[in-house]
């Protein structure tokens, strides 16, 4: 305990002995690296760490972490993880999921984990495609997308995971991307430290079935003009020279402006702790897809009692009020009568 900052584990301690089997060049590798590098930094304990996943490429993640882990059922990771988190508030429970897993087959569970504010750190790998089933469109694929199941173009309107999470009043919502390890690690660290449900959307490249889906915004040269970094307490601005900014207009919409035209003082100052999610939602609506300037960073981080703590408190209150359970008394809690021998 002499030096709290000195990590007691290294990245190697967090890697399992299993060979990583994602396609070479997959964005998942960089996310795995970011998480494995982060763990020693934040001083996490391997035995108290649980990774729960659903089904899909991203959901193989737990096999590669030297922690407790469960590769569960398609879409059901938040449900399984809710049981773990409620039973064991002492554990740190991560959920690793993808756009099909979390938003299509498992949409219901994600919504309810977020609204209940279950103490979960949820990393949503969004590659806008079904990879494991070899290339069908996903609920985040752009309309018109031509895939194996949509040879004439997808007719579906995609959803925006950040907007969805804010609509469910998630207490922590953030976005990052697989091309920037430092940003990923910082956002993951914030999510880890958040008490309650934290959702992080990671734009992740599937180089086999949807290569370059995010290139327009995440390629190194494009980032300054296409990524809008959200930083708490700072005006929202971007561009190679910071010449662009975001204001909230009269209708409550977030719009991009030239700072020179409107003046810096009119720019929106980002407040992630705002109780009302509307401004964060407006920010999430800035881009219609990863081809327009897109906000990244923490959209929202508010304090709200986490579900596990509320459950634990009710349990404690019950014991305080009624005393620890007495089985014999429970069985006699209704009306009873006695039959004597030989009666």
């Amino acid at each position: 305990m002499t030096d709290l900052a000195a990590p007691t584990t290294t990245r190697k301690d967090w890697a399992s002995d299993q060979e990583v089997r994602w396609c070479p060049g997959c964005g998942d590798y960089s996310i795995l690296t970011a998480v494995q590098l982060l763990m020693p930094e934040i001083g996490a304990k391997r035995e108290d760490t649980v990774f729960i996943s659903g089904i899909g490429c991203s959901s193989r993640f737990p096999y590669y972490m030297n922690t407790y882990g469960v590769h569960s059922i398609h879409g059901r990771a938040p449900a399984f993880a809710t049981g773990v988190a409620l039973s064991r508030p002492d554990l740190h429970v991560w959920v690793v999921t993808g756009d099909g897993d979390a938003l299509s087959i498992g949409g219901n569970h994600l919504l309810h984990a977020l609204r209940r504010n279950v103490n979960l750190t949820i990393i949503l790998f969004n590659n806008q495609i079904y990879g494991l089933t070899k290339g069908q469109y996903s609920p985040t694929s752009e309309a018109g997308k031509v895939t194996k199941s949509t040879p004439f173009g997808s007719l579906d309107h995609p959803y925006n995971p950040v907007s969805l999470a804010l609509g469910a009043e998630a207490s922590f919502v953030a976005r990052t991307h697989d091309m920037d390890r430092k940003h990923m690690m910082e956002v993951f660290r914030r999510a880890y430290e958040h008490k309650g449900a934290a959702l992080v959307e990671v734009y992740q490249n599937c180089n086999v079935f949807n290569d370059g889906a995010f290139e327009a915004i995440t390629a190194k040269d494009n980032r300054p003009s296409m990524l809008i970094p959200l930083e708490h307490g700072k005006p929202v601005r971007f561009g190679p020279q910071g010449e662009k900014g975001v204001v909230i207009n009269d209708q409550g919409r977030a719009v991009i402006v030239d700072v020179a035209e409107v003046g810096e003082e009119r720019l929106l100052v980002h407040d992630e702790s705002r109780p009302d999610p509307s401004v964060a939602f407006a920010l999430s609506r800035l881009a219609n897809g990863p081809h327009e300037p897109t906000p990244i960073g923490v959209f929202r981080a508010v304090e709200r009692p986490d579900y596990g703590s509320l459950v634990a408190r009710q349990m404690d209150e019950a014991v305080a009020k009624k005393g620890p359970g007495d089985l014999s008394a429970l069985l006699r809690s209704g009306t009873t009568w006695t039959v004597e021998a030989g009666q």
């Binding site: 399984f80 809710t82 049981g83 039973s87 349990m315 089985l327 006699r332």
Partner: protein, 655 residues
């Protein structure tokens, strides 16, 4: 308040005015009225006072799925049947001796079930032309001689109630609602029930609402006094206490017994309980009851859906709790995939299915036993799961504990099949001493240290290194240092638990999981046949499971009383079957399998043991009557001695 019924009106339960109760050994009473008439409450209170009085009882609530079905119609009739007796009884009775009918629809719906000579107590105020029409009567049944074979008592219950409750200051519209207490008071007088338990209950239940408390008290007393004074009742009856085994008793329904069994299992295993559940009829009461007992370390989650109910329960089991989920048929469909995961993860999980009429939404408030094959086989792949079924409301308690024992010891999901009949039916239950219940904690054995030494000398934890005797794998709970491991739905290598696509390994793992479940047969009691002549002595074996116990046993006793030889085997363990089941079945020339489905157990035993079992099958949403089973037994006995396997199968014979 103890003797208040009478003190206020100068009558007493000892009937000083000359009404000597006539002793009867048993009586079946059915309270019937509109869904909103409070018949379930009246039946419930009559049950409680009879139980306290010491009668043996069996009850059968039967109500529509709609919360408020169209008033006055046959579809909206809600009924509660209770059988009270001075000796031990097994069923709620086939044919009521007394029908309380609060309106014409209730009369119409239930007259066909009555015993000839039965007493009918009519609320004559409800027999106006419109109500008769609504019930579908063309002529007034009171005057068209259709009730000639019964004793009909017309009592203006609504108006007498309204008059009686006036002192309470209740508004007319509300006053009328106490008429169920009037009916209860009248029937309580007829059958010499002690009034105190009911009046004490009313005082307690409505302590916060003085007006309602007074109104119900006054209505009950008015009903009682009406019986006492009205000339129309020639006598009251008395059903003496039954000779039950010594002990302390309480009145228990199947759902309450299930919930208490879950609490007990957690205590006996020294594990916290986690219930993940989604509301569904007729299972919700188990969720309600368990939600009250947080001080026992019981966490309950009303999940967003059935899938999350079982998913969170399995997650809790993974994390070291006793994970439990409760549901009914449609929910079991949805949980199938997670039960399959539990088979693969080899974690303890309790799945409680309170069966109702299916398929699809089916008959939500009616009973059926048609989920057996689903419990056995309703998952993709080879996914065997132990299956158990309780036989009576009180047995639900012990069966849950046994299911938990198997789940914990063998690290497996276990499906318990109750049904709507057990769920809502009630019986006097001899309360066990906690010290007599099995200790489940020895079966928990959560892992605390590595279990494998690698060739290089390093000690590691292998999650799928099995116990050689039980074939159960170690349960290493997150938070345990040094035992970190990854598991999932993908096939695992024997021992290490790492993902494996090796063909021979999959073949081995499928067989190991099957062997593990099959091996439980060595750890459960052998089948015990009820055969006075010893195993194989009787001419016919009646093989049954679950809630048919009462009707089957009553039928078997009745047939024996007629001098015929019949045996009864009632199964609690349906997968695996008791090890000696095949021998027992083959010891009899004929086997009859009564089930509230189209022959699911029969199919299983025929497939497993090549036994030419006959079926008695009924799928009307109603439990068997004793006489239906009795008739089938006699028919089956009658066909003995004719051509072998004469094909006169009773399959499809309905009651």
């Amino acid at each position: 308040m103890a003797d208040s019924v009478v003190s206020s009106s100068a009558h007493s339960p000892s009937r000083p005015n000359g009404h000597r109760p006539q002793p009867v050994d048993r009586v079946v009473i059915r309270f019937a009225g509109d869904s909103g008439d409070g018949m379930q409450l009246a039946g419930d209170r009559f049950t409680a006072s009879s139980a306290i009085f010491g009668n043996d009882i069996a009850t059968f609530p039967d109500f529509p799925a709609e919360i408020r079905a169209p008033a006055g119609t046959v579809a909206g009739v809600s009924a509660f049947q209770i059988h009270i007796s001075d000796h031990d009884i097994l069923t709620p009775g086939d044919h009521p001796n007394v029908l309380v009918a609060m309106n014409p629809a209730a009369l119409k719906a239930h007259v066909p079930d009555l015993e000839p000579g039965a007493a009918i107590l009519l609320n004559s105020d409800a027999f106006d032309e419109r109500s008769l029409q609504k019930a579908g009567y063309v002529a007034d049944p009171r005057t068209d001689h259709s009730l000639d074979s019964f004793k009909v008592y017309e009592v203006p219950m609504t108006s007498l109630t309204m008059e009686a409750v006036k002192p309470s200051g209740t508004k007319a519209r509300d006053a009328e609602r106490s008429k169920n207490f009037f009916a209860l008071g009248l029937v309580s007088w007829m059958y010499s029930r002690p009034p105190e338990p009911t009046l004490e209950w009313v005082a307690k239940r409505f302590a916060g609402n003085d007006m309602v408390r007074q109104a119900n008290t006054l209505a009950f007393k008015a009903g009682w006094n009406f019986g006492e004074t009205a000339e129309i009742f020639e006598s009251a009856y008395e059903v003496k206490p039954a000779h039950l085994p010594a002990g302390t008793y309480t009145n228990i329904s199947g759902n309450t017994a299930l919930a208490w069994g879950v609490v007990a299992a957690g205590q006996l295993a020294k594990l916290p309980v986690f219930l993940g559940s989604y509301p569904i009829t007729p299972a919700s009461d188990v969720l309600h009851e368990l939600s009250k007992h947080k001080n026992f370390g019981v966490r309950t989650l009303q999940a967003e859906d059935e899938i999350a109910g079982v998913g969170s329960a399995l997650g809790a089991s993974y994390a070291g709790a006793l994970g439990v989920t409760t549901t009914s048929g449609p929910g079991l469909d949805l949980k199938a995939e997670t039960i399959g995961l539990a088979v693969s993860l080899e974690l303890p999980l309790l799945v409680i299915d309170i069966q109702r009429g299916g398929p699809s939404t089916g008959l939500p408030t009616k009973t059926e036993q048609a989920d057996l094959l689903q419990a056995m086989y309703g998952r993709h792949g080879e996914a065997p799961v132990p299956v158990l079924a309780p036989s009576t409301p009180g047995d639900c308690f012990y069966t849950v504990i046994e299911a938990a024992r198997i789940a914990l010891k063998y690290r497996t999901p276990v499906i318990l099949l109750s049904d709507g009949y057990l769920a809502n039916g009630a019986e006097p239950w001899r309360i066990p001493e906690v010290s007599d219940l099995p200790d489940l904690s020895a079966d928990v054995r959560q892992a605390s240290s590595p279990n494998k030494v690698l060739p290089d000398g390093s000690e590691v934890f292998w999650p799928y290194l099995r116990d050689t005797e039980t074939l159960a794998r170690p349960w290493a709970v997150p938070g345990t240092p040094g035992l970190m491991h990854r598991i999932g739905g993908l096939e695992k290598a024997d021992g290490s638990g790492n993902v494996s696509y090796d063909p021979a390994n999959h073949d081995l793992m499928v067989r190991l999981r099957a062997q593990k479940v099959a091996g439980i047969a060595r750890d459960i009691p052998p089948a015990e046949v009820d055969d006075p002549d010893g195993v194989g002595g009787a001419d016919l074996l009646v093989l049954a499971w679950g809630s048919t116990y009462g009707a089957v046993q009553a039928a078997v006793r009745a047939v024996r009383a007629g001098g015929r030889r019949v045996a009864h085997l009632h199964l609690r363990h349906l997968n695996p079957f008791p090890a000696n089941l095949g021998d027992v079945l083959r010891a009899y020339r004929k086997v009859l399998v009564p089930e509230v489905n189209l022959g699911q157990l029969r199919r299983l035993v025929r497939a497993e043991y090549l036994v030419d079992a006959e079926g008695l099958n009924k799928v009307s949403g109603q439990p068997f009557r004793r006489e239906e089973v009795q008739k089938a037994i006699l028919a089956s006995l009658g066909s003995l001695g004719h051509a072998n396997g004469n094909g006169a199968s009773q399959q499809g014979r309905a009651g």
